[in-house]
């Protein structure tokens, strides 16, 4: 009997061994089919998990070989687990609308990020140190098909204009209600996005920036007459205009163009010429010419451009030298009117389907198949459920309204999660979308362990922290006051942003002079002086006097000292992931601005560029005092500070600090600046003569206008964001319509850059707002004597041009903007957060474009139920210190 038992046991062991051996061999062959390498009994790609993407559906959704990989309800491929995993967050607001075509609030992405998808997406590279762009809804990378559409959609017969790309779609795309997504669905969505009745807020995503789909703008604006400020676009100079037989000039395209006295102009800080003339009259303008000019104006206050009207305009703006303009500035007073004819979508918009799974996109801006094309196809997304979307349109009141994306019933997504609970201003729950294509894909195995994403609105930081410590949240964004408690926590993570915050000042003498005439002194009886801010050394002194480290410590402990306009997170070459600040050009720009360009190298103060940069604090009180003293001498010499004022001692340099909001940062920040600068001028001639006032609250989106039109003297903690991968376009913020100092004409500021052995000169505006944006500019070649040789060279540095050239121009432009001393780097934008003990991030280091991995890569040590038990075992509160 015992022998029989032993035989049976042996047989069983042998059977198990054979089965295991068979499974390993089977695994190896399956993995090899997928191109994976097999090593020492384990797949090097799949690691411990056996993958059989073709086999899982054969036996109840379970891998026939190893049994792993369950397809729940016959629908999707998920991790083999028995419990639920929920990722819980507590933001201070919950989205109220998340229509992809119209949303304006950042919180809308709480839903859109999980319920949406894109043609392409970011993923980790092989060693998880950087990113790659891979197809998501698309099945392959775009294919250039320009030749097939020559002569259509603006593509020239010789294929030199516009580009066409074919994008193939996966064939299992579905909405979260099971409806199929085909190429036609994309086209319908595009048509709804560009609906001219709607004027959707995000319609410009597909014609305004890098992604310029042919015909999209014309279709969206059909039937409209759009008046455009020529000074803002810089589109037409006087010599570009074409004179008609009637003596009236038009644009080369035939658009009507006018001199305007009634339209607001960016050149005049948003005000019309008439407002300036009414305010200042003959002090700045030729009034006789103005009277004659307005006599020619139509009812809209616009004058057709003729030789006569141009002469009159010249008479208005050049009659008084104090206005400081010439005939060359006349184009800033033009507006042109574009009439968009009624158009059909088909044949107009370069975005169409050729079959169920193939889309063709025609780009107006000849974008090559590079990172920028794929990036735009990742982000500029617009897919909606056309049927549901149309149900939500209401035009019965005479106004187009659309409440798509405002409740569960009025929204259908297509991402990895589906909206299942929505209570406005309270709670959102998203659960797995069983129809999402990713769950059926081999590459996704092991990702998306999270079953539910839960957002609960919590407005108070203290309550959020309490919830986190009780294990009810998976992360907590630390506040300045929390830093001391958690600075040594093992669960603390820092996240840098692409933004940099600045100190921006008004350097314009005229507006400063006008403001000082009406300013009330802080000290009764004092004469108010503001024009000192026009002196470069004074502004530099204010910057050097600012102890940035102390400023950050007091107001934003997670932030670092900003040493340049562009942050360390900005990517210069997205194809390689190289950050701009890591390039030699990026480093040189910093060194040039801080005066350390020749202070590094063997035998010098710093051994390397990095050492020199590391030494920069931006704080030099002694240097600041010297600069203040120089500024004082200049102010006295110019007559800003008169002998009478000095004798009486009754004068003050009054600085009006702009306050974007009532927030603590701006209140305390202003106090800090005042303290710092009061201290800095001690021992100089300005001691006791610098006073400060805070402006009224300027509004969180409109504050910039107040500096642009000179209503406040300076702003701090302001900047631009959102261009991590495209600093080249972002530089336009410093020279285009969004710049903080539009009163410094960047067309009159020249910059020399050495390219291919030649020193080329063009205006700062041309380099930045034209060349880097893909327009060809004509540069003067500069000789050894520093003068133009007469030779001209064409330069273009758009998305399809040489990346090295783009970086070189970018760095030179950045340094030049900084040396104008109107805008100074102040602080980096960083945040710190605590991560829950039960969550594991994909990477410990922040990876550009992917962060720490996101919801797709988060792994959990415990299920929700296990976590609850664990918290209870710990006494209800966890220790993260």
């Amino acid at each position: 009997m015992k022998k029989t038992q032993r035989m049976l046991a042996l047989a069983l062991v042998l059977a198990m061994a054979f089965t295991a051996l068979f499974a390993l061999v089977a695994c190896q062959s399956e993995c090899e089919k997928n191109g994976h390498k097999w090593d020492n009994g384990k797949c090097t790609v799949c690691n411990e998990v056996c993958e059989h993407p073709d086999g899982y559906s054969e036996i109840d959704g379970r891998c026939p070989t190893c049994g792993k990989g369950i397809v729940e309800d016959g629908a999707y491929w998920v991790d083999d687990n028995d419990g639920e995993y929920s990722y819980r967050m507590a933001p201070s607001d919950i989205p109220t609308a998340w229509n992809l075509h119209t949303y304006e609030s950042a919180s809308s992405t709480y839903i859109l990020d999980y319920t949406g998808d894109a043609l392409y997406t970011f993923d980790y590279n092989e060693d998880a140190t950087g990113f790659v762009i891979v197809p998501s809804m698309a099945s392959a990378m775009p294919v250039d098909v320009t030749a097939q559409y020559a002569g259509q959609y603006g593509i020239g017969a010789d294929e030199t204009e516009n580009k066409a790309y074919k994008i193939s779609l996966k064939d299992n795309l579905k909405f979260d209600n099971g409806d199929p997504i085909t190429a036609e669905t994309f086209v319908e969505s595009m048509e709804l996005l560009l609906n001219p009745d709607a004027a959707n807020f995000r319609a410009d995503n597909v014609y305004m920036n890098n992604l310029k789909i042919a015909g999209a703008e014309a279709y969206a604006k059909q039937g409209q007459s759009v008046v455009t400020d020529n000074g803002a676009t810089g589109e037409y100079a006087e010599e570009d205009l074409v004179k008609g037989e009637d003596g009236i000039y038009k644009t080369p395209e035939g658009y009507d163009i006018y001199i305007t006295v009634a339209d607001g102009l960016s050149w005049l800080g948003g005000n019309p010429l008439a407002a300036y003339v009414n305010a200042y009259g003959s002090a700045y303008f030729g009034m006789e010419a103005y009277e004659q000019l307005i006599a020619l104006a139509n009812e809209d206050g616009r004058v057709a451009i003729t030789d006569e009207s141009l002469d009159l305009l010249e008479g208005v703006i050049t009659a008084v030298p104090a206005w400081g303009e010439s005939r060359a500035d006349a184009f800033n007073y033009f507006v042109y009117i574009v009439n968009y004819p009624v158009a059909d979508y088909d044949g107009t918009v370069g975005f169409f389907a050729t079959d169920d799974n193939s889309l063709v996109v025609v780009l107006k801006n000849e974008m090559e198949d590079n990172f920028y094309l794929r990036y735009e196809l990742c982000t500029s997304f617009f897919l909606v459920h056309p049927g549901k979307y149309r149900e939500c349109i209401d035009m019965s009141s005479g106004l187009y309204t659309n409440d798509y994306g405002t409740s569960i019933d009025k929204f259908i997504g297509y991402g990895p999660y589906k909206l299942t609970t929505y209570v406005a201003d309270s709670k959102i729950v998203l659960t797995r979308n069983p129809y999402w294509h990713g769950y059926y894909e081999f590459d996704m195995y092991g990702q998306y362990q999270t079953d539910n994403v839960v957002y609960t609105k919590v407005t108070e930081d203290s309550i959020r922290l309490e919830m986190f410590l009780k294990g009810e949240l998976e992360s907590y964004g630390l506040q300045a006051a929390d830093m001391a408690d958690f600075i040594n926590s093992d669960y603390l993570y820092y996240t840098d942003s692409e933004s940099t915050w600045y100190l921006a000042m008004n350097p314009d003498f005229d507006t400063l002079e006008a403001n000082q005439a009406t300013a009330t002194p802080v000290v009764a009886g004092n004469a108010v002086i503001k024009t000192v801010l026009d002196i470069t050394e004074f502004r530099q002194g204010l910057s050097y006097a600012l102890d940035r480290e102390a400023f950050n410590l007091e107001l934003s402990p997670t932030s670092g000292i900003a040493k340049a306009l562009l942050s360390a997170m900005i990517v210069a070459d997205p194809e390689s992931g190289l950050t701009y600040r890591a390039t030699e050009e990026g480093k040189d720009a910093i060194l040039e601005f801080w005066g350390l360009a020749d202070q590094w190298g063997d035998g010098k103060e710093y051994l390397t560029k990095d050492d020199a940069i590391a030494s920069i604090t931006g704080f030099d009180p002694e240097g600041a005092k010297a600069l203040f003293e120089t500024a004082y001498e200049k102010a006295v010499a110019r007559g800003d500070i008169t002998a009478d004022m000095i004798a009486s001692g009754k004068w003050e340099v009054q600085l009006c600090i702009g306050m974007p909001s009532e927030g603590n940062f701006y209140q305390k920040g202003s106090e800090f600046l005042q303290k710092c600068w009061t201290e800095a001028v001690k021992g100089t001639s300005f001691e006791g003569h610098v006073t400060f006032i805070n402006s009224q609250v300027l509004g969180s989106t409109t504050f910039g206008e107040y500096l642009r039109n000179g209503s406040v003297d300076l702003l701090f903690g302001v900047g631009y964001s959102g261009s991590m991968f495209d600093p080249y376009s972002m530089m336009d913020c410093f020279t285009g319509s969004l710049q903080y100092d539009p009163l410094t004409d960047k067309n009159d500021v020249y910059l020399d850059i050495e390219i291919d052995g030649k020193v080329l000169r063009a205006s700062l505006y041309a380099w930045t707002s034209e060349c880097l944006l893909g327009e060809t500019i004509k540069c003067d070649v500069i000789g050894a004597d520093g003068k133009a040789t007469g030779e001209k060279v064409d330069v273009r540095a758009g998305t399809s041009d040489d990346p090295a050239l783009r970086v070189k121009i970018l760095a030179k432009v950045e340094a030049k903007v900084m040396t104008l001393a109107n805008i100074f780097p102040l602080m980096t934008d960083s945040s710190a957060s605590l991560k829950s003990m039960r969550v594991q991030y994909k990477t410990e280091e922040y990876v550009v474009g992917l962060g720490f991995g996101g919801i797709s890569h988060y792994r959990y040590a415990r299920t929700d139920a296990e976590w609850e038990d664990y918290i209870e075992e710990q006494g209800g509160t966890l220790n993260y210190k």
Binding site: A199, D204, I393, S396, E460, I463, E466
Partner: protein, 368 residues
């Protein structure tokens, strides 16, 4: 008859006052800066197109006229790009759109002249900022129950406790019980409710773990889930109201208890309890009852701080949110709330005044 005339007069005055306030608010809110700032990578022309459609470029009084009475235009069928008439899935009827410029009616289509919109037709407009694209009335109606539910619970708890404490303190005037209650009342009246809210949250959620930190509104405003999770919020709201009622009741009752008619009642042979209940309480309620009525009338006005702190999706933050909305104020929300609360406030004044006559027949409204 006097009363009837009085009520008619008050209603007439109320409507006049309402229209003045309503018009002033419309003009003032339209005078606020409303031009969006330039944004990086945004097409200003597109934003201008939408502003034109919204009528923001029209003169303010023309906008007001349209807001009140709507616009007259031509109704035509709403078609998709293939020319198919779209059907409203809820009504099954063809969808329509309005064209206000006759020349823009497509060829072959016959437009029906019609006036649409305007609050006289019950159309309060859609939100352009806070709840983008949603009908403002629908949002308001959706949120009011949460506020009503919270306030109602708070009042129902506050009134009996507040009155009881006030009566007890009055009866124990100048004794230690009165001093304890009065001191408590002073503290609770003086300290703002959000301080209690923090304390309640810290104690009952973080330390004791008895309640959730925020309210669960997923099951609706009158569900057990809502009430059970809203207890900390209700408590936070109650303290101040209880203290208010107690103080007022004590003061009124103390005064009445020392009146001569109370002495008469006692000399007639009534016990202290009988005299207090039948005579003192009734007289003391004359000013207290309108106060209670006022509390009930105001149950639709939300508490910005408490609703925010406990994540109650009520109307508390709507008003200020409508004004502070960026880039432009949410005009339609602002005007709806202005109209609603102005009306409630004015109507409450009439109701409270009339209630005096009902509680105490000696008070005759409108009588000379």
């Amino acid at each position: 008859m006097y009363m009837f005339k009085y009520i008619l007069k008050r209603i007439g005055l109320m409507l006049l006052t309402f229209m003045i306030i309503f018009t002033m608010c419309f003009v003032l809110v339209k005078l606020l800066p409303n031009r969006p700032a330039d944004q990086f990578g945004k097409d200003k022309e597109l934003i201008e197109m939408r502003r034109e459609m919204l009528g923001y470029n029209k003169p303010i009084m023309e906008q007001y006229w349209i807001y009140l009475f709507g616009r007259t235009g031509y109704e035509i069928p709403l078609t998709d790009s293939n020319g198919n008439v779209q059907i409203d899935s809820t009504t099954g009827l063809p969808k329509t759109k309005m064209v206000f410029d006759e020349s823009k009616i497509p060829e072959g289509v016959e437009g029906t002249k019609k006036t649409v919109g305007g609050i006289i037709r019950g159309y309060f407009g859609t939100s352009e900022a806070l709840y983008l694209g949603r009908d403002v009335w629908e949002v308001f109606v959706e949120k009011v129950p949460y506020t009503v539910s919270l306030n109602l619970a708070s009042i129902l708890v506050s009134i009996p406790i507040g009155l009881a404490l006030g009566i007890y303190a009055a009866l124990k005037k100048n004794k230690w019980q009165d001093h304890v209650i009065s001191t408590g009342v002073m503290i609770f009246v003086s300290v703002p409710s959000f301080i209690y809210a923090f304390l309640v949250q810290y104690l009952f959620y973080f330390k004791l773990g008895w309640f959730k930190p925020v309210v669960d509104a997923t099951q609706g405003a009158f569900s057990w889930t809502f009430f059970s999770t809203a207890i900390p919020a209700i408590l936070s709201m109650c303290f101040g109201t209880i203290a208010g009622f107690a103080r007022y009741t004590r003061a009124e009752l103390t005064e009445v208890l020392t009146s001569e008619f109370m002495l008469l009642a006692r000399t007639k042979g009534l016990t202290k309890g009988q005299a207090t209940l039948r005579h003192a309480m009734r007289n003391a309620m004359v000013p207290i009852f309108p106060m209670i009525l006022g509390e009930f009338i105001s149950i639709m006005s939300g508490s910005l701080i408490i609703e925010n702190m406990f994540t109650i999706p009520g109307v508390g933050a709507l008003y200020i949110g409508a004004i502070q909305a960026q880039p432009t104020p949410d005009y339609n929300f602002f005007m709806l709330l202005t109209g609603f609360y102005t009306f409630i406030g004015l109507a409450a004044g009439i109701v409270i005044d009339i209630s005096y006559g009902i509680i105490d027949p000696r008070i005759r409204m409108g009588a000379r």
